[in-house]
Subunit: 247 residues, 3 copies
């Protein structure tokens, strides 16, 4: 039996690949459990700075396995998976091609960087299945693209492609399919060069939305001061000042 | 006396037309009361799936009747009308042409789909009247178009046209004036083909903004599971699976 | 000793100019204290309707003085300055050229109008200093430009220029450098012609984000009704009605 989730860890990157290519990487309970388990473990693994999601066989994911919807509708693994990616303090990058449908599209709202190939097909077909959006798409999509656009995508179930996705800010960048994984790995390598604590704190701040400006400023300031007092940060700033002096 | 609000109900659509053409459909207390009454009634009317707002005589609405501002400034009908459109669980589409000024523009923030003709003139002239924005425009407009753009529109009272409105996400689509009502009716017909409960729940989710990601995911998930357990949804999914099997 | 903050008050405008040109207007504790003091005082000064921020010598600001980060890291003047601009009820306009880095960029999130010259260099280099974003940038930037774009700017520390800044809604307008201050002063003059109470209330509403639609509508409505009852507003509306009658 082939592994439906392929894991690879190297140079600070944890690669998680959905591997159910016959069903365009439809996601089953087992796959959610495996993936969320790895994402949760990475939290305390100092050798990991970035998580990368991708799919094998030319597609990202066609969404939840429909047989699971019929046979095992109340399995908690989906919500556990969504919790693990939405609460991760590590930056998450996605390499998306082929189809990104249902949870294959909504999980991208919880990624910090999404690179996709030009022909990627995105859709949120929940309403046509008699369902509602999940993964906080009903909250995050209007924040990202505005209420009018989100209504089209979620109430009409209208599909869209990479160019429209980029324009509305749903993805970060369009890459030729042959370079897609390389470009995402390069991005991830760049992230691994950043001070890890700064990176994780910044990521967490970016993902917390419900807060007043004053409270947020106070919370940022606390982290800012803590970091400013560390040897690491003092060394970085002193190095910059010395460089300026010697110019 | 002509009716200042024209009502038409057919094929799942409730059409509400502002009909005060001599004053470019300026809105009076009576008109607000009539409209909000119908919108509230539609909530429990299972024969209605979509509400359509439009104006007669070539304009959408020139805003609140200024005589009412002088003669009857504290009438609660305005806020009741705004409450009814902002709290409706039915999708609301608007067909907008001519002028959309003051509440004629701010009510569009509570519509899910806004189609407008190319020459439509939009403005929020509250500040030049010595007033402040209403209809939660001070909250919803910055969310939709960003703080800088909202400042221009609300602090300077700068008018704008359909092209700019589309670019900033304030409207959904520009249609030639002669096709405007047809296109909105077509959109509404499409919405009436969607499972009504999914549609209303999705609409409500899209209009609730103050919530954490975790809370929203949990709430979506509850509705998702409830719907997944219904015969209707099971039938839809089984039909898709059978179609796949027989391919 | 030259003043590191230059103040000029005329015709309803308070101009605050950062004046530390040898260090591209790097900001020191003294400069923050002076500036926030003036911003706070303007709050109750009815002769001031608009605050204008700018820098001398061809730059806006290169950010916090790095020596201060080393020698005086826990000085409360930064957070006091940020509080004063984020809580001001007066509209704030900025004229930005040269470099706008660190707090020189994040403070712009609290300005209502930002005009910048074409070649202005913006960046949020916090992560590369081993720090986190401040000034509620981790909250306000994702709201303004979306999560994906904010991740690029804050996690990668990627710099950007005026054209990209305008496209993402971070600034209001690009002006040729030679006209920059004139254009901002013209904008400020226009703002001083607006009813001052309407202006300040509108500004405050635009800057309060955490609220339900219903609560916001109620709060706006209260202010709206209060203003509608004033002689000033009644006079404005009567003048418009008389003009219409006499047409």
């Amino acid at each position: 039996m082939t592994d439906k989730i392929i894991l690879k860890k190297e140079e600070g990157r944890l690669n998680i690949t959905f591997n159910n290519p016959d069903k365009k990487n439809a996601l089953t309970s087992d796959m959610y459990s495996l993936a969320s388990n790895e994402i949760n473990k990475a939290e305390s693994d100092l050798s990991v700075s970035v998580i990368i999601l991708s799919g094998s066989g030319g597609n990202f994911s066609s969404g939840n396995d429909l047989f699971d919807f019929i046979n095992d509708p109340y399995n908690p693994s989906v919500i556990n998976f969504l919790e693990s990616i939405s609460s991760s303090s590590l930056p998450i990058a996605a390499a998306v091609n082929g189809v990104a449908v249902g949870i294959g599209a909504t999980m991208l709202l919880h990624c910090d960087f999404v690179y996709s190939s030009p022909d990627t097909y995105f859709s949120f077909p929940f309403i046509d299945l008699g369902l509602v959006p999940e993964a906080a798409a009903s909250l995050l999509l209007p924040k990202l693209v505005g209420h009018k656009k989100a209504s089209e995508l979620l109430m009409l179930g209208k599909p869209f492609y990479s160019e429209e996705a980029l324009e509305m800010g749903f993805i970060s960048k369009i890459c030729p399919e042959k370079d897609l994984l390389d470009e995402v790995n390069n991005l991830a390598n760049l992230l691994t060069t950043k001070p890890r604590e700064s990176l994780c704190l910044t990521k967490k701040l970016l993902c917390t939305e419900e807060e007043s400006v004053t409270d947020r400023m106070a919370r940022e300031h606390q982290k800012f001061r803590d970091l400013l007092g560390t040897k690491n940060t003092q060394n970085i700033i002193n190095a910059i000042l010395n460089k300026k002096k010697n110019k």
